[in-house]
């Protein structure tokens, strides 16, 4: 079967039931997508499917084929970071950083449907993403910064 990931085509053995997370990490080496809970509760494995955030630990390949998959590795374009990546750097919105990929992708999904979210809207969109280090205030600040024209 064929998957389209970060605007590249990958040919893979046919395994419609396999979860996208493990294929990304173990077969394609896209290790920026993290395992955190395996039940869609922590958001560390978030990727975009046609621009919508999904939990790759619960997404079988069958649901991902013929869709455009974006992982954290695919946000950078021609050496330029995505505005959210810039903003997370700018406000140091991480401690251990293990949740960061998922936070950025969930936020990217939010900004694509709501480019100027309020603080409660950001918090609501990220409710399913766990940051155990407690960087929540900075993550919200980073998303606001990216939404308001980003880092200058």
């Amino acid at each position: 079967m064929e998957l389209s990931i970060n605007q590249r085509k990958y040919r893979l053995p046919d395994a419609p039931d396999r979860m996208l997370l493990w294929v990304l990490r173990d077969e394609l080496g896209l290790i920026g997508t993290k395992y955190g809970c395996g039940e869609g509760q922590c958001g560390a494995c978030t990727v975009l499917l046609n621009g919508e955030p999904v939990r790759s630990c619960l997404t079988p390949l069958a649901a991902a084929k013929e869709k455009s998959i974006t992982t954290i590795e695919g946000l950078e374009r021609n050496g330029n970071l995505h505005p959210l990546q810039e903003a997370f750097l700018k406000v140091d919105a991480m401690q251990c950083g293990y949740c960061t990929s998922g936070m950025i992708l969930a936020s990217a999904g939010l900004l694509s449907r709501n480019p100027r979210p309020s603080e409660p809207e950001i918090a609501a969109a990220l409710e399913g993403n766990v940051c155990r280090c407690g960087a929540h205030p900075r993550i919200i600040e980073a998303v606001r910064l990216a939404a308001n024209g980003g880092v200058r």
Partner: protein
């Protein structure tokens, strides 16, 4: 079963010192240049922990704390056994070196927690990295700066003190000449052991003490950083462990026939240990599912019986008559066992080569894990290398090497490198927990509202922060170890959270009994000026004593531990949907001279948010050897909607040595919230978690 898993850094036993790499081996391995070996013999390094070590007074090399190497091309590398788990020391320690060498932070390479390259280190815990390692690295780098000046002075026949070190060069401003670090170190094999030259005083810092973006932040936001669970090795296979049916269960029999028949699967069965290795994660899971095991179980206790398990006798009630006018307040407090829940579960990749073992794993004690591996495989430590890639957090929960030992056993059997990443359920079940506890407090005040008697008994949760900072004429404070039904160990702040919860809620009750406001009562009974300073700072920022809504309550609490002083004001509101909601918190914190204000604020905020979980809803439930809520869907950790606005007030005492900040800010949050809930509702919450919900 053991009692309290030691609050590990409180162990006073001497470390198993490592003499390798010696200087000669070091130069052979990394090339020439100049090497500063830093010793740990200065008294202030132990001031914080208050322990003496058996080796005090021995030869210098026994206590090397870090190496600072400037290679022949001028590259600067720091080798330290400390590790990065999100507390930002990779950056703050690099800042310390950059400061003294007058060079950009980006030019400093930090090699951390690699048992073959870095000097022995007992572990990264106890908020000791900043108070111990940062001043030492300042000293090492200052010594390197002086050595470079001397090398240049020798070359130019100039006076070292007239030369300026900046931007990777030594410059002679008078003669208008300069030499790069590499030109000075080329062909050298110079080493120096230092005890403590003059360093730049914090007031003159230009790099240290400044907000600075994490040195590897770009790798994190682009997904490139390799955490332990991301390590891949050529030919690597994937492992899974067969877990017992319950705590205390033993393996009676194992039928591995079906698993063994699967392509590429190896089954390992060694006593009570059983696991599988397969070419990928999914096949490993299937093979594990195909194992047929019979376990022998024994009856195990239940979390519903916490009080009875930990303090089987009656609650403390004072029998002595009280003095005229004296008021007595007595109460019992409990705290539940909770899970660290690091977002990255335990993970290890193990690889054997000619009888030598290399393991990448997430741990706060890489040298401790090396020792565990040496014991498990009867190998000399010299044949084992443990590397610790910057890890997806720990909070005191990764002092041990379970995954490392398991991965190494699987790899040994499979003859290939093996990766083992614990599932969330395994992390919730087979890691260790923050201890549960029961605390009895009996205290009295005189007619002037001064504390006269303080009796405090902690069962099981630990002794950290058990001493009271309040002035009191008569006191009795005891910690009672108990056989814990669960495996338990260090957790951010250790028992100071439990002890301070009981103490500060009790102080609130005493204040009300005295007819005084909680702030006023504390001011009256505290003599500790640093604690009073943070208390006042928090109260001022919060607007303590100002107006509030009818359904709103305010609470205040403070605490001191490990050289850090914290005070929290909280505002809560009755909420029709959620019962009670924390609306706002102010945390004031002081830990001496501030090394990195932004990093410090991050730690204080993070500790406050983590504290919310233990205060309001986190509890491990167990029954008959099983964890009943070993999933994030059943064990609630703080999420965005739980986090109120948090105002952090940093009190900078640049005249005092820095203490660590990763832990202490956690300790005053729960009591401040409990006191605020009482203020709002009249209900006193004496159990953690409080679950103050409708």
């Amino acid at each position: 079963m053991t009692g309290l898993e030691p609050e590990r850094y409180e162990l006073s036993s001497a470390a198993a010192y490592d003499f390798k790499p010696g200087r000669r081996e070091f130069f052979q391995r990394v090339g020439g240049g100049i090497l500063i070996a830093l010793t740990l013999r200065n008294a202030e390094a132990y001031q914080e922990s208050g322990h003496t070590r058996r080796d005090e007074g021995n030869e210098m090399p026994r206590t090397v704390g870090a190496w600072l190497h400037i290679d022949e091309s001028g590259g600067i590398t720091v080798y330290t056994g400390k590790v990065e788990v999100g507390q930002n020391i990779r950056t703050s320690l690099a800042q310390a070196v950059a400061e003294e060498l007058r060079t950009p932070v980006s030019t400093i390479r930090m090699v951390m927690g690699d048992t073959s390259l870095t000097p022995f280190d007992r572990g990264t815990f106890g908020s000791l990295s900043t108070p111990q390692m940062a001043p030492q690295l300042h000293r090492a780098a200052a010594a390197a700066r002086k050595l470079l000046q001397e090398l240049a002075a020798e070359r130019w026949l100039a006076k070292p003190e007239e030369l300026v070190v900046e931007d990777g060069k030594v410059t002679d401003p008078a003669a208008g000449r300069s030499l790069g670090f590499g030109e000075l170190t080329k062909g050298r094999n110079l080493s120096q052991t230092i005890a403590g030259p003059v360093v730049t005083p914090p007031s003159a810092w230009k790099i240290a003490g400044q907000a600075f973006t994490k040195v590897n932040a770009r790798d994190i936001v682009t997904g490139k950083h390799e955490y332990p669970s991301d390590i891949r090795r050529p030919g690597m296979l994937y492992g899974k462990i067969l877990r017992p049916a319950a705590f205390g269960a033993t393996l009676v029999s194992l039928d591995a026939g079906a698993a063994k028949a699967m392509p590429g699967v190896t089954v390992v069965h060694d006593g009570d240990f059983a696991g599988v290795v397969a070419p990928d994660e999914i096949s490993a899971e299937k093979a594990l599912g195909a194992l047929r095991a019979t376990w022998k179980t024994t009856p195990q206790p239940s979390s519903k019986d916490l009080l009875r398990i930990l303090r089987p006798g009656p609650a403390l009630r004072r029998s002595a008559p009280t003095a005229p006018g004296e008021k007595l307040v007595e109460a019992t407090y409990t705290v539940a066992w909770i899970a660290h829940t690091p977002l990255e579960p335990r993970a290890a990749v193990a690889e054997w080569n000619n009888g030598n073992l290399t393991v990448w794993t997430g741990t706060q004690r890489p040298f401790g894990v090396r020792e565990e591996l040496a014991n498990a495989f009867h190998l000399p430590e010299a044949r084992i290398r443990v590397l610790m890639p910057d890890t997806g957090s720990a909070y005191g929960g990764k002092h041990t090497g379970e995954a490392a030992v398991e991965a190494a056993r699987l790899s040994q059997a499979a003859g290939k490198p093996v990766k083992l990443v614990w599932t969330r359920e395994e992390e919730f079940t087979w890691a260790y927990f923050r201890p549960g506890g029961v605390i009895d407090v009996s205290a009295s005040i005189d007619r002037d509202g001064l504390l006269t008697n303080w009796e405090f008994h902690n069962y099981n949760s630990g002794s950290s922060g058990i001493e009271t900072p309040y002035a009191v004429t008569s006191k009795k404070i005891e910690f009672h170890p108990v056989n814990s039904p669960l495996r338990q160990g260090s957790y951010r702040g250790l028992a100071s959270t439990a002890n301070n919860f009981a103490r500060e809620v009790h102080i609130d009750e005493l204040a009300r009994a005295a007819g005084l406001g909680p702030l006023e009562f504390r001011r009256k009974n505290l003599k500790n000026q640093r604690l009073l300073a943070v208390l006042n700072a928090a109260a001022e920022r919060f607007g303590w004593g100002g107006g509030k809504q009818a359904d709103e309550g305010h609470g205040i609490a403070c605490g001191v531990e490990k050289g850090g002083y914290t005070a929290v004001c909280a505002s809560v509101r009755k909420d029709a949907r959620r019962g009670v909601r924390v609306e706002r918190m102010v945390t004031a914190f002081e830990c001496g001279a501030i090394v990195n204000p932004d990093g410090l604020k991050n730690q204080v905020e993070g500790a406050a948010i983590m504290a919310l979980g233990g205060a309001l809803f986190e509890a491990i439930e167990f029954d008959n050897g099983k964890i009943l809520n070993p999933r994030l869907s059943a064990y609630r950790v703080p999420r965005f909607s739980d986090v109120p606005p948090i105002d952090v007030v940093l009190v900078n005492r640049s005249d005092l040595p820095s203490s660590g900040a990763g832990e202490t800010p956690i300790m005053a949050v729960a009591p401040a919230i409990s006191n605020a809930i009482f203020d709002a509702t009249g209900t006193r919450h004496r159990d953690l978690p409080m679950r103050p919900f409708a």
